[in-house]
């Protein structure tokens, strides 16, 4: 595995996680604004109140899911760096084996080399499993976003129904929709990058 490829993946992960965090904060803020509006206008907006509350609840769930994703990245980094370590040992031994002339006793060196190779294979399998786990969590996250988008759609309908109240609920719903769309986009990019990484590393993994 190319260490610079994993470093690049970590870089991109950093950037995407930053975007997700910002958007989730934005979602929470929008939901709070909506609830304040509802409170201020009493029974007229009771329907929208249900939507705003569902939106906020769902936003909290997304926050938790984002933390799970975040925790899933650390094992990937550690495992990749352990692989790099073992490859480094293995490479040194291979160089020694190549440079030693025939007929010279190599002691346990070939056996040690086989052991390192086995460790490399083990670590590669582990990395494959960690990525598979991450991808599953990303899919679950995407399901959460789909639910959030369903709430946003309902919010738009509800906003249209109470448009005569003069409260700018359509704008609030639009902003909620935009924030959710940004999370959806960032997560899709992350998933794509992980899939590409898996694909590019498939000869190693």
């Amino acid at each position: 595995m190319d260490p610079q490829r994993i470093t690049q993946l970590i870089e991109n992960t950093h950037e995407i996680q930053g975007r997700v965090r910002r958007s989730l904060r934005e979602i929470d803020r929008r939901a709070l604004n909506a609830m304040v509006l509802v409170k201020r206008h009493g029974n007229v907006l009771a329907g929208y109140g249900v939507i705003a509350s569902a939106f906020r609840e769902q936003a909290a769930k997304l926050q938790v899911a984002a933390e799970t994703l975040q925790h899933g990245v650390e094992p990937l980094i550690q495992s990749s760096m352990r692989l790099l370590q073992i490859q480094n040992y293995s490479h040194s031994i291979q160089t020694m084996l190549r440079s030693i002339g025939e007929g010279i006793s190599l002691g346990d060196l070939p056996e040690t080399e086989r052991r390192w190779e086995a460790d490399i294979a083990k670590e590669q399998i582990m990395i494959g499993e960690i990525i598979a786990d991450l991808l599953r969590n990303l899919e679950r996250f995407q399901e959460g976003i789909a639910e959030q988008e369903y709430v946003v759609t309902n919010g738009r309908i509800e906003a249209a129904l109470v448009e005569s109240s003069g409260v700018p609920l359509s704008r609030v719903s639009r902003e909620m929709g935009r924030a959710v769309a940004e999370v959806r986009k960032a997560i899709a990019e992350w998933k794509q990058q992980l899939e590409e990484f898996t694909h590019e590393s498939s000869t190693d993994l």
């Binding site: 260490p3 610079q4 994993i6 470093t7 970590i10 870089e11 950093h14 950037e15 650390e74 980094i77 550690q78 495992s79 760096m81 352990r82 790099l84 370590q85 480094n88």
Partner: protein
């Protein structure tokens, strides 16, 4: 390993990475300074703890932002991870005592860009901030440097201030009461529990110690950050300098 902030403004930060999980090798701290999107890693650690260190560093700073590494001296717990860091980021520039360059190359990565610091010291501008490489020769290594950030008032002090602490230790010498008399006990406990033996046995020269203390007392220091153990902050810094000043070092010679 865990990362904890030491100093933080909007565009200038210091972190400690501490409490390693692998206990078969000596427990080490790694430090990171970031200024305006550029970072330096100080005493990046040994080969065996590299995965933990890299993972903890990646949590706080994007790896591509690490422009440089500082190596206080030649020991394996300081710099044997060099070939692995270099594999991840070949653009990193390595600052180390000039005297040890050829020795440190034995760790691997012959192509890595090494910059030798001459005996008199030097400085580095990173993200617009000036870091001073202060000579700390014979403390404990014969060519040894510390790093001072005057703006953050951070002194990275390598093995000076080090303590051998048990697993699960904190990043700081207990700060409760650090600035009044009640901090005395916390400080004494820390010294007795892991710092005293380290300094008596690893520090070889009274003359080097006295000269270092004389120079360091002139600096304004809020955080004295050793490579093993915990950070001294506030009045613990002066407590440490006073204690170190009175401590006879080079104990193996005395005992023999």
């Amino acid at each position: 390993m865990k990362a904890a902030p030491i100093f933080e403004t909007s565009d200038h930060r210091w972190w400690i990475i501490y409490d390693q999980e692998e206990r078969r090798v000596i427990d080490s701290n790694v430090y990171v300074m970031e200024s305006r999107g550029e970072a330096i890693i100080l005493d990046p650690g040994g080969f065996e703890i590299f995965p933990q260190v890299f993972s903890a560093v990646a949590e706080i700073v994007q790896p591509s932002r690490i422009k440089a590494a500082f190596v206080s001296h030649q020991d394996p717990d300081i710099a044997s991870s060099l070939p692995l860091w270099n594999a991840c980021n070949p653009k990193m520039q390595w600052y180390m005592p000039k005297l040890w360059e050829g020795f440190i190359r034995h760790y691997g990565a012959l192509e890595a860009e090494l910059h030798g610091i001459v005996d008199g010291g030097g400085e580095l501008l990173l993200g617009g901030r000036r870091l001073e490489f202060l000579p700390a020769h014979y403390l404990h290594s014969s060519a040894n440097f510390h790093v001072y950030d005057a703006e953050a008032r951070v002194l990275f002090s390598g093995d000076v201030g080090a303590a051998l602490l048990p697993a699960g230790h904190g990043a700081w010498v207990d700060r409760r009461g650090a600035n009044d008399n009640s901090g005395e006990k916390a400080f004494s406990d820390h010294i007795a529990n892991g710092a005293q033996y380290f300094h008596q046995r690893w520090m070889p020269s009274e003359k080097a110690k006295t000269d270092w203390i004389r120079r360091v007392r002139k600096l304004s220091i809020n955080f004295l950050c050793p490579q093993h153990g915990a950070i001294y902050s506030g009045s613990h810094v002066t407590r440490f300098l006073d204690w170190f000043s009175a401590l006879p070092v080079g104990s193996a010679i005395v005992e023999n």
